[in-house]
Amino acid sequence: MSGSVSSNVKAEPNLTPILDMVFQLITFFMLVINFKSAEMDLSLKLPVVGSARPVDSKGQKELLVLNIDDVGTLKIYNRPVANIDGYIQQEAQASRLAARLTPEDIEAGEELPTTIVIRADRATPFKMLNRVIKACQDNGFRKFALKAINKEA
């Protein structure tokens, strides 16, 4: 008797509040997710520059983020690049094609629209940094953004 009574009583929890909460959490994470951070090497210690301005992406169509660690290794998406000149040349070609420029235009003084974003470790020797900057300049890049933090964390 008692068994048949208990089989008729269903104990179903009300899942609506938990679903509401989970959807709120999902909304939060969807809003704050930033896939761009994948191209940043977060292990780098950027220099502290008081006048460093927050990134203004207005008018900057294309960005090429270059991470340079303290020994001068160029890293793209956390992978070291052995042939720096080859990589920059490849990116310059892509940028040139996107901007519909010819190699003659670049030689004549036209500049590529891509902004080179340099994220270098504060201990990187200038020799290593200049190697990358020079490779970019030789391939027609003129706009640079040197990343820094405003104050020590």
Partner: protein, 168 residues
């Protein structure tokens, strides 16, 4: 009418939320696992042309033809800053603006303000000669001071070039 209403109230449609909750939890797990807050970073925007000393030629005037010009830098619109670093630790050891030695970073700021405040100054770009051992953060101190300077046309100086100088 009353009977009909009674019948409707008995037939409640219950959605099975368990499947939706499973999916929502999976999405939540994905977002939690991939969540990596981006650091708050700033940037110093620059135009970095290859280093070339530019000479202003006024109305077809030949360089050096003006005998009344006693200042050797008049007519040249590139200011040169020299940064020499200690090869052991990469810290700045000495600084210079043109031919003049500057005792430190604060003095460099003062000197540049003095140069750019002169209404007759012809400079619109700066070449920074840096020894190869100089650390990036030390260089950025110089870049920061340079980008604070205001040109004759009221714009901030953003045209810089770097030249590598072998240390030692």
């Amino acid at each position: 009418m009353g009977r009909r209403r009674k019948k409707r109230s008995h037939s409640e449609v219950e959605l099975n939320l368990a499947a939706m909750l499973d999916m929502a939890f999976q999405l939540l797990c994905f977002f939690i696992l991939t969540f990596k807050p981006a650091p708050i970073e700033g940037q110093v925007s620059l135009r970095l042309p290859p280093p070339q000393v530019a000479v202003v030629v006024k109305g077809g005037q030949q360089a050096g033809s003006d005998e009344t010009n006693k200042n050797p830098v008049t007519g040249v619109n590139t200011l040169t800053i020299s940064v020499f670093a200690d090869p052991k630790n990469g810290q700045i050891a000495s600084l210079g603006v043109g031919e003049t030695q500057v005792p430190g970073i604060v003095a460099l700021d003062g000197k540049l303000k003095e140069v750019f405040a002169d209404p007759g100054n012809p400079f619109d770009q700066v070449i920074i000669q840096v020894s190869d051992a100089c650390r990036y953060d030390e260089l950025m101190k110089i870049v920061e001071i340079c980008t604070k300077q205001v040109l004759q046309d009221g714009k901030k100086l953003s045209k810089l070039s770097f030249v590598e100088v072998p240390s030692g």
